[in-house]
Symmetry: C2
Subunit: 385 residues, 2 copies
């Protein structure tokens, strides 16, 4: 695994050294976004930053008391440096975040190593931190790295996809167990906590995203936060959850009917959303435009009179973060590649009545290999529970 | 409650308009840190920003699909504006965060309103967002607001302290129930999930901080993340948790012994940490230097040979965030005031053996009023469970 991180860092260095780099070539790089630091080092270390130095040395710099959770890998040439609390230093209150700032320390190392240009993540560093970096590294030109690491993360290797498969299995298991339990009379909040407990029981590090349980008139709302509303006979019950495993998170969403006999409007609405989600799933393939996946779902919903229901997007990438690139939306300009995992998550909400959301996580694969690989395999048939 | 927010915003405006403001006077202010937006508006709205306009109008600007969770209060003159998804706009991928950015929209409003200087939170806005603001507001000087809102938040009013009292009650109840249940054989992870479920059961919005359960050799480690280690006879069991209620979070930490007869080293270590925590608690008062509270604990630990154990600080402020100002550390330069809630949370960890942490949340009060008000009232006597 450590060779993977070494080669990812090498690839990033090459990209930054090239004249085509986002903000001009840079001989040093400072990564501060936690998911990006994890991607490039294998370390989950919240306050830490990664410095790719101009001398070819890579260093993980951690703030005091925040060394990485994982141990060092002997095969990895990554150096690790944890800052000491400076004696007699002025209060962190006076300096804001810069007092014990790993990014500031790393910039100082870059300065002393003779870096010409240091590429930093301007979409992550605050203005205050950036000023502090500039103050300790006056000889170094600070350039913008842009979304280089996020772009590198889009296509997953087999090990990452394996982690996503396990995350999906855990998620399916947790959901499956819940469906066998009594639901009527229980609150959305309790069911959400129950789902999260089961994710942990089955081996998840934690929830990949906030667990959503939406019953009755709440069902179908995207991102509904669980309330004290109790599940009742006749309700739609819409559930969304996902496990995080070895850092990788997936997502599933299913909608059920509580009781024995769904009403006609419920069956019709469910069939519409199912058809929209299927159309989007089936459009996934290497070379497909991201906006095309969104359009496939949007067209089906529009034909049924629910064109405005979809919201901003039909889905997004997953990996070390839920909500990664690519974005499956009308404004998206990119195309899909094989080995890109995405969610497909359309839905419709009818105010006052409820609605349906169906979410899957799939990996884009060539048609010759059987088309998209579905990770979240819980049935999408409308179940009455 | 809405008058409270109106007056908080008025106070901030006055501070920013003064020549003594952190980065020169400003006639407009842009607040982007979520806890600060909540403090000034009563709205919990993750992607939203607050604009105090040069014309005296206050506007809460939300990104598409992210309007505030709370309804408008008729007595509050706050305007609310939710952005629409622009048609035909380029992908959010191309623009990074700026595509649907409430802060950028707010800066545009400030420009059109003729603001001379707009104070922004440089310790929160990323470099990329700051550049996007500057691009849409070329006539406006962007100034740094600094920590003005954080400083305004330090002293709590009675309503805030009431919320903290309820949060503490909920926390004490959840912990108390756990102590009545069987602990031996259960994993740290399960106990942590159980505690969080009980917080919700008793009315918390959620956990104010990650719940820590540390058994045996893990006990006494600050910020220990629960593992699959099972609780055993003879263990120290150190627990830290906190409820969030109406946005306000508190924190409690207690250490117990599992079984009937604590060993001598356990009793001695516990007595030492208890004495250190008591010394720090008793030093709290209006006018006390923050570093003095830390020194009170540190001296007791040092006298027992554990001087290095304390780490960076003995405690910190609480409120809408756990870990607010003030910081009770050796480098702190400020003083305490009445109505400032703080944690006092020293501890000692002996590698391989375990340790003790005792955390309380208290409100600084004048001695004439009885001294510091203890919010977290679970007994600190060493219990054998």
């Amino acid at each position: 695994m450590s060779e993977v991180h070494v080669s990812r860092r090498a690839r990033l260095r090459d990209r930054c050294a090239a004249s085509t780099a986002h903000d001009g070539p840079a001989d040093a790089v400072l990564i501060s976004r936690p998911a990006n630091v994890r991607y490039l080092t294998g370390r989950a270390a919240p306050g830490s930053v990664l410095l790719l130095g101009p001398d070819g040395a890579d260093t993980l710099v951690s703030a005091p008391g925040e060394g990485p959770a994982n141990g060092a890998h002997p095969a990895d040439d990554l150096r690790e440096l944890t800052l000491e609390v400076p004696s007699g230093a002025e209060s962190a209150e006076a300096h804001g975040a810069a007092g014990y700032d790993a990014a500031v320390a790393a910039a100082g190392i870059a300065e002393r190593s003779g870096a010409g240009a240091l590429a930093v993540e301007e979409h992550h560093l605050t203005v205050a931190r950036h000023r502090a970096l500039a103050a300790v590294a006056p000889s170094v030109r600070l350039a913008d790295l842009g979304l280089a690491v996020e772009q590198q993360r889009v296509i997953k290797d087999e090990e990452e996809i394996s982690a996503l498969r396990v995350a999906a299995e855990i998620t399916d298991q947790a959901l499956g167990e819940l469906l066998e339990s009594i639901l009527v009379g229980r609150t959305e909040r309790h069911l959400a906590l129950e789902l999260e407990r089961r994710l942990i029981d089955h081996g998840a590090e934690g929830a990949a995203l906030p667990t959503s349980v939406a019953a009755g008139p709440n069902s179908g709302l995207p991102g509904h936060r669980p309330t004290d509303r109790r599940v009742e006979e006749g309700d739609f019950l819409a559930v969304r959850l996902g496990a995080r495993y070895r850092g990788y998170g997936c997502q599933i969403g299913r909608t059920f009917v509580i009781g024995t006999a769904p009403e006609t409007w419920q069956i019709e609405l469910y069939d519409t959303v199912f058809a929209a989600q299927r159309a989007a799933r089936e459009s996934l393939g290497p070379g497909t435009e991201c906006r095309e996946v969104d359009r496939a779902a949007r067209q089906v919903l529009a034909a049924a009179g629910h064109g405005a229901a979809l919201g901003e997007s039909t889905g997004h990438g997953v990996g070390l973060e839920i909500g990664e690139d690519p974005r499956l939306s009308p404004e998206a300009v990119g195309k899909l590649d094989a080995c890109v995992p995405v969610t497909v998550q359309p839905g419709v909400h009818l105010p006052g009545r409820g609605g349906v959301r169906i979410d899957d996580t799939l990996v884009v694969r060539p048609q010759a290999d059987g088309g998209p690989e579905l990770l979240t395999i819980t049935t999408k048939e409308l179940l009455a529970l």
